[in-house]
Each structure stands twice: as structure tokens, then as C-alpha cells.
């Protein structure tokens, strides 16, 4: 399954390109068609697609399986992997399996707590945290060893990513944590959705001062808001989400049927601002159950055509 080919995302970032990634949530069921439909909406518009791992702790088709479906369609998946559901034994095993199936990118996360999900009575694992997962991957790839030090017969050559939330607290620790993630192995960083540009800039400035944007590629998170109601809901209920009042007021200030278009306008402005920022290497568009909008956003942002994979 093209194990020898390098990660397309890595090549684009290393060649100085402004990368575009998007998110694809697998279905709540075994229907492959849903994945294929979402893949078709994204194909050609993005350099790689993040496939979530039971996001918000709601049980879905496995990230690995959905990644393989997308890969077969010619898209490049970024497998998201959380430490909530699997211990280190299962994680290492799935990483090897994923690489054997041609998955080249991985995003390491701790994962949303299961109490938010559809099965809050579940036991979580958290044997290791996202930082450990990064380091495990780096060690497997660069030293060819698993966590016990056992030499692997082939090492998974993955492009390793991590998440960062500049909008969570305590703010002053956020850049320290970013530095730790990069030290542990992160090569690219995808951020939480950006609505509070001043705070993002401040975080980025601190990261730049620490030389972190030279060590890892930062992709700014973008999520189109569909309505003022959605914005208010996210601001109130999604942990670590920062949507300033002026953004909500802006959506309230247009007729209801034009709110979604206004939301996209906000995204486009954010993308334009991010492209001007030193230390931002791309955008990560998380159009939650709204994948149909991604192509239009990428086009309107002037980010087409995407570079051809080599």
C-alpha cells in the first residue's frame, strides 16, 4: 500500500508551502459510503484529511478503517489517535498496523473525556498521555524500537502531529506545553478553532520567541460557524473553545438565512490573517458535519490549486 511513498503533507510543509488540511468524522455505523461521500467532498481541495478517533467520545467507525477507505480513494489521511481508549500495548500495535496499511501521518491526542460521550459509563484508559504517545512514535520511527526497547523489524515512518489549544488555561503554560510536545516528537501542530485572533497572535508570538515555529509547522484551526446559535452553543458547551462576543454579535447582526455565509466570511478573513502571520504554515479546516463547505472555503481563500503530490 505505497509504504515507501513519503507523506504528502510533510513534503508540502518542508517545501515551504501553505498547507491545507480538513477533518472527516467517521460515521456512527459501518456504512463505508458515508466515508466515501465525505472523501469526495474533500478530494482535490486539501493536502491531507484528519480522521477523528471516536471524537467527543461517541462511538464511531474506527479512525484506522476510515483512513484506509480515504487512502484507497487517493486522499492522504492523518490518523487521529487518542490515549483514552487504548493502553500502550494496543496503541503501538495499531500504529504498526496503520503504517503497514500505508498511513503516513498521525495526530496524537489524549481525547475528549468519555463523560461527554454517548457511553459515559465506560472506563477510560489513559495509560499514557498525548505527550507520551508522541514520544513513543518518535522512538519507534527514529530508533526503530517499541516502548520496551525491542527492535522492530520495520519502523513506522510517520509524520507526527499534535494539537495545541492557545485558548485554554493557564495561558502562560500553553507555550511551555507546546515546547514539550515538540520536544517529545511533534513535527506539525494543529490548533483549536481560532475566533479570538488577538489571543492566537499572542500565543504565536510567544511560540516564535521560543523558536518553536522553526521546529514544528503550525496549522491554524478553522471552523465555519453556521449560525449565532451554533456559536453560542460552542462557546458555552465545548471545553476550551473561545468565541468572543463580537463574533457572536456579527452572526446575530445578519438575517438568519445569511448567517452561514457570514460564518464563512469570518473563516476567510481568519485564513487571510493567518497567511500573513510569520510562523503559521497552513490551516486545518474542521467543518463539523459540514464537509461540503470545505472546497468553497479553500477556493475562496485563494488556496487552489493544491500542490500535486509527488
Amino acid at each position: 500500500m505505497n509504504k515507501d511513498k513519503q507523506s504528502n503533507l510533510k513534503q508540502i510543509l518542508e517545501s515551504g508551502g501553505f498547507a491545507v488540511t480538513a477533518e472527516c468524522g467517521p460515521p456512527r455505523g459501518a456504512d463505508t459510503e458515508v466515508v466515501i461521500e465525505k472523501g469526495n467532498l474533500l478530494k482535490g481541495y486539501v493536502d491531507a484529511v484528519n480522521v477523528t478517533d471516536n471524537q467527543t467520545a461517541i462511538v464511531r467507525m474506527s479512525s484506522l478503517a476510515a483512513c484506509v477507505h480515504l487512502k484507497q480513494m487517493g486522499l492522504e489521511p492523518i490518523m487521529q489517535m487518542v490515549t483514552r481508549d487504548r493502553n500502550r500495548i494496543a496503541l503501538q500495535s495499531d500504529i504498526m498496523g496503520a503504517y503497514s496499511l500505508g498511513i503516513k501521518n498521525i495526530l496524537c491526542l489524549s481525547g475528549d473525556h468519555q463523560t461527554f460521550g454517548s457511553q459515559p459509563d465506560a472506563l477510560n484508559v489513559f495509560d499514557i498521555d498525548s505527550m507520551h504517545l508522541l514520544n513513543m512514535l518518535k522512538t519507534m520511527r527514529d530508533e526503530g524500537k517499541d516502548m520496551s526497547g525491542f527492535e522492530l523489524n520495520e519502523s513506522p515512518q510517520m509524520f507526527i502531529g499534535a494539537a495545541a489549544n492557545p485558548f485554554a488555561d493557564p495561558f502562560e503554560y500553553r507555550v511551555i506545553r507546546l515546547a514539550k510536545k515538540i520536544e517529545a516528537g511533534a513535527q506539525f501542530i494543529q490548533t483549536q478553532c481560532i475566533y479570538n485572533m488577538p489571543r492566537f497572535r499572542e500565543w504565536l508570538r510567544m511560540a516564535r520567541e521560543e523558536g518553536l515555529t522553526e521546529k514544528a509547522y503550525v496549522l491554524g484551526g478553522i471552523t465555519p460557524l453556521k449560525s449565532a446559535r451554533m456559536a453560542k452553543y460552542m462557546a458555552a458547551n465545548v471545553a476550551g473553545m473561545d468565541i468572543p462576543d463580537e463574533v457572536i454579535r456579527r452572526l446575530e447582526g445578519v438575517p438568519k438565512e445569511k448567517a452561514a455565509a457570514e460564518g464563512i466570511k469570518i473563516c476567510l478573513e481568519t485564513i487571510a490573517e493567518l497567511r500573513q502571520e510569520k510562523g503559521v504554515s497552513g490551516v486545518h479546516i474542521m467543518a463539523i458535519e459540514n464537509e461540503a463547505k470545505v472546497g468553497g472555503i479553500v477556493e475562496a481563500a485563494g488556496l487552489m490549486p493544491r500542490p500535486k503530490a509527488v
Binding site: 500502550r88 489524549s110 473525556h113 477510560n124 488555561d169 503554560y173 514539550k180 517529545a184 476550551g240
Partner: protein
């Protein structure tokens, strides 16, 4: 202390309904301190059960006794005669006490009267908070005296998750984010270096992942 909470009366009643002579056995240490299983709770529960069974027209003989600790043979023996003259024991001790009684009295059914919840502290009147998981390898020196294993909902060893906001945990807005507390403490102590670098994965064997734990102290053997 080990914090416990008395089971609902209906559940207790159902579990003892088949017996005619019942011993309610209290424990005078942890569960007494957290108002779940000391003399006072034994007396209150005995009255409540007598009343509940009386309403059903059932006559049950309930004997009350509290020993200092149900997890030590010396104290358990004080209850031996009472245990033997009753049909069953309703123990208000933690799970360790219940099992210790059960292992010593093969002929007596032993039923738990409390749910053992956690190792914690009395934060204020009526509020107990979990602070220790008994993980067997104390890391509090690194984390400024705040335990991420117990008090972080994701057991994170390397910093707060993206859900920490305004000092609160994303799982429960009433609960402090352990990492906010850790950072505040370490900053005040000038020990932020403790958490500036990668802290490797935990060895969970001492925490019970290696199977039931034992502690053998040769120096205590006489």
C-alpha cells in the same frame, strides 16, 4: 481517610431480608470519621431497618456493635461471639473490613452496608474530596503537592488538556483543574522547572496493574 457512603436503605433491606438475626457491625476508624459506619450510623441504620421491616410485618432481631477496626484481627475477634450468634453480618466498614470479616467467619454471610468511595479529605462540612489513588509511587514532590493521577480526569502527567478553563476541569465545572492547581503551586514555590520538560510514562505496576498488591515488612515480624 477512606471515605465511604452508606448504601440506600432499600438496597440494604433487600440484601438482609432473608435473615432473622442480623448483626450490624460498625467500624470505628475511617468510616466513623466520614459519618458512614461508626456507632452513630450503626444505631440509626438499626432503627431504620427495624422500622422498615416492622411495616412489612416482619420481625427481625438486630444486634448492634462497633469495633475499632474491621481490618485488624485483634479488633475483629472482639466481634466473634456476636458474629457467631447471628445469621448474617451487615458490615459498615470499607471493602477491606467486609472482606476481612468474611475471610475469618466462613459460616457467616457478610454483606456490605456502605459503598467505599475513595481516599480523601474533609474539604468542608459535608464535602469530601478524593485526593489519593494509592498508586504506590508518590509523585507529589514533582507536582507541588497536587496529584495529577487522582485529580486530573485524564491522569495527565505532562500538563493540562485543552479543556482547562478559568481554573476548572472540563469534566465538572465545580471541580478545580488539577493542572491549574499544580501550576499555581509550583509558580509560588519557584519550582516550575519541575514540569517544563517531558515526564516519561508511568509504571502502573505499583498501582495495582501488576495484580493484587502486598506489602511485606520484615522489620515488623516478631
Amino acid at each position: 481517610m477512606i471515605v465511604a457512603e452508606q448504601k440506600p436503605l432499600a438496597e440494604i433491606k433487600a440484601s438482609v431480608a432473608q435473615y432473622e438475626k442480623l448483626l450490624i457491625l460498625g467500624c470505628g476508624t475511617c468510616v466513623k470519621t466520614c459519618f458512614a459506619g461508626g456507632e452513630d450510623e450503626v444505631a440509626t441504620l438499626a432503627s431504620a431497618l427495624r422500622l422498615a421491616f416492622k411495616k412489612d410485618g416482619k420481625d427481625i432481631k438486630i444486634e448492634e456493635l462497633t469495633v475499632e477496626r474491621q481490618c485488624e484481627d485483634e479488633f475483629i475477634q472482639e466481634a466473634a461471639a456476636a458474629i457467631e450468634r447471628n445469621d448474617a453480618v451487615l458490615s459498615l466498614a470499607c471493602g477491606a473490613g467486609v472482606q476481612d470479616i468474611a475471610s475469618r467467619f466462613a459460616a457467616s454471610p457478610v454483606l456490605p452496608g456502605v459503598n467505599t468511595t475513595f481516599i480523601g479529605i474533609l474539604e468542608k462540612q459535608g464535602l469530601f474530596i478524593e485526593e489519593c489513588s494509592g498508586c504506590g509511587d508518590c509523585k507529589l514532590a514533582t507536582y507541588g503537592g497536587v496529584c495529577p493521577v487522582t485529580r486530573c480526569a485524564k491522569k495527565l502527567f505532562n500538563g493540562p488538556c485543552g479543556g482547562s478553563q478559568n481554573g476548572k476541569c472540563e469534566v465538572d465545572p465545580e471541580t478545580d483543574c488539577a493542572w491549574q492547581l499544580i501550576i499555581d503551586r509550583l509558580k509560588a514555590l519557584g519550582q516550575m522547572d519541575n514540569i517544563k520538560h517531558y515526564i516519561p510514562p508511568n509504571d502502573w505496576r505499583p498501582s495495582g496493574a501488576g495484580g493484587p498488591r502486598k506489602l511485606f515488612r520484615e522489620d515488623l515480624v516478631v
